[in-house]
Symmetry: C2
Subunit: 477 residues, 2 copies
Amino acid sequence: MPAIDQYLQSHASRFEDELWEFLRIPSVSADPAHREDMHRAAEWMADQLRRMGFTAETIPTAGHPLVYGESPKLPGARTFLVYGHYDVQPPEPLEKWTTPPFEPSRREGHVYARGAVDDKGQVFTHLKSVEAWITVEGRLPVNLKFLIEGEEEVGSRSLEQFLSEQAERLACDCVIISDGSQFAPGVPAINYGLRGIAYYELRVTGPNRDLHSGSYGGAVTNPANALAKILAGLIDEQGRITIPGFYDEVVPLTVRERQEMAALPFEEAKFLEELGVAGAVGEAGFTSLERRWARPTFDVSGLWGGYQGEGAKTVLPASAGAKFSFRLVPNQEPEKVTTGLKWRLAELCPAGVELDLIRLAELCPAGVELDLICHHGAPGVLVPLDSPYVEAAARAIAYAFGRRPVFTREGGSIPIVTTFRQRLGVDSLLLGWGQEDDNAHSPDEKFSLADFQRGIKASARLWEELSTLSLESGKPG
Amino acid sequence: MPAIDQYLQSHASRFEDELWEFLRIPSVSADPAHREDMHRAAEWMADQLRRMGFTAETIPTAGHPLVYGESPKLPGARTFLVYGHYDVQPPEPLEKWTTPPFEPSRREGHVYARGAVDDKGQVFTHLKSVEAWITVEGRLPVNLKFLIEGEEEVGSRSLEQFLSEQAERLACDCVIISDGSQFAPGVPAINYGLRGIAYYELRVTGPNRDLHSGSYGGAVTNPANALAKILAGLIDEQGRITIPGFYDEVVPLTVRERQEMAALPFEEAKFLEELGVAGAVGEAGFTSLERRWARPTFDVSGLWGGYQGEGAKTVLPASAGAKFSFRLVPNQEPEKVTTGLKWRLAELCPAGVELDLIRLAELCPAGVELDLICHHGAPGVLVPLDSPYVEAAARAIAYAFGRRPVFTREGGSIPIVTTFRQRLGVDSLLLGWGQEDDNAHSPDEKFSLADFQRGIKASARLWEELSTLSLESGKPG
């Protein structure tokens, strides 16, 4: 690696110049006025790939073009897919930027520009690491495919379509994504897990009209009362979800995972203070980080029913409703959660409310009526900590950043990771070079230039580390 | 009574003509355009009273005038206050009326006009019974005071003011009100009880902003989850309210009351079908009528929190809220309910939510935060079934309608009845001559002319019955 590292060091300044060039293209995917800029950004990327000997093209879609490129075929070597996006969030409100969003500005070791960290600056590190290998060694030690989309900030619709049609072409051993953050400044991280989700809407219907709560109250089931009872009944006093079988497939935290999480520089008091809440509360027996990252949850996201205006209205509402979701962890399946939820609803639903869409009439007393709408679902993902890919990435990061990464999970879902798992059957490595306070999606978005250079170095080392894994076991060969 | 009955019979036609005259005055209290009509209606009433020898006046208020009159003082006799209102609901939508609302029309034994039953036609029965007594006997057998307001349909604000200032002038043994309905056609009724109310708003506040349910869910108390748990915890599986001491002051239904209610021609299946609900549900051990009329309840009237729009939003809301009320029965006091509710909320509120307005911080674990707003409260009222006034009214009604009245209660509140109880310290007799389907507040409001005449006859007999009660015991002397 010394020659490659030497190359990176001597070309660091040019890499920044090129990044400036990339950041100057206002590739705002949400704004139709930037349609031509989107094409320009895609071509700019494809051109970068071609100059390194990749076969690369921009692929037209119903939305913005995809950029796709492949390195010259290296027989007998593993294949990795680098995913990223060249589109950026709208820069508004413009008046809140210290310098214009599409005129990159260097201040205190950072580059300030829209897209600096999300995701142009990060995806660009992988391009430059490839350039170093090609220039210094004449070839990469692995096969690489680059798939860079232009609709990440607006829903990735064209990418989903492409993945469903071109799975064979995209075949790989693992996906590499750099579109996130380190755990803290100076604390690089590998995110090895995401939660899934099962999102529902429940509508409770009672009498055929709003009733006077005086004249009718007490003799007619109140849908808002019933809704409260049902929602309350989905979680017990220990914070555990009461759906039968809900925890059956939950992959428990390993001892190593719990140790890694406990060792993280996470200040719970600061976390709570920043949110303005007085205490850490959740499922009994788990820490806050474990609850956020590795345990399933039940959260009501919306509630409505009856009178919401000023003052008092004595109404017994005809209906009430809620939106809620369960965050899932591997290996929970949204479909199984739906099945279990229906059984639990049948147990919870009070008499006098009617039940329809979920066809639970036969299970419910006295003709209860509930409508359950399943909005969307996705399973969680988890790359085992002892995966050779994780270990290879950890070594590469340690090499470039001067310390081993911490291992984190994320409570939310990243749909594209689930899609890669479903369409290509492979894991994703989430290697974020940014920081939480980089203002992604906000004014004054920034990216540390030191981390930019370290990211290139880590990426270059990663190809080396991955190339040494034996093809059979995934262990270093 | 034969002479009086004879008089009523021979003047029945003129009574209707006079009612027509009264109904032609468009005394719509809600509409400022009818301000002059309000004065005209008040003067018309006062004039009726004066012609019978009453001292009567219209009393200016901040709103519409009150009509107040007193019969010539009859020493040693009891005093009763007749309450009613001369204002009417707005007639809109006009196109839904078969004949114009202020041009009374006779069809199939009914008079159709705005105010026919609510309340001009009913209050007028008491004027005509007085006329009969004065003309035939030269005097009434009791002392009567008439208090007829012009703001019943818009909140009775001026009357409340007048009652708080002129309680002494209004002193009486009992209030007579005819502003409601019989139980069914041919089934006259005396309403001897009303429920009270204690109406609250509860706001649950959690984190200082809406959070991403993926990144934070599980580690932060969700205010919407907490609200559901609290509301569900206020009522148990038997439909009983879980506030400590809540039932301590509840006057139980007597054996006679339960028998009277059970004997009523109430068709539960029809009641449920009309509401579109599949089953009768409520507090265990009580019938539907008992639940509606004589048992306290808990009903959520409004619910809100988080995202209520289309589709799915994965938010952990910063706050959630509800409006709810307890219907009260004698002798529950709203203030005691509030005290008990606060204790119960302290038990129910989950950790991680903050509690403020009700200052329950010391009772709650981990700094829970709830805001409780007390909107309004009123105790229930109950005239004992063995009250001599009830019995006198029952005899009068039996005499005029040809059958004894049934005894009913009402699940709602009539604030003026509570006010009479509080300001004058007396009970009210609720004697309604109308029917449930008389379209009060709707187009084609009507009133049976047979019931109009029977109401006059019952009223005339009532003065006789009330005059025979001994002054001490209230029993017939």
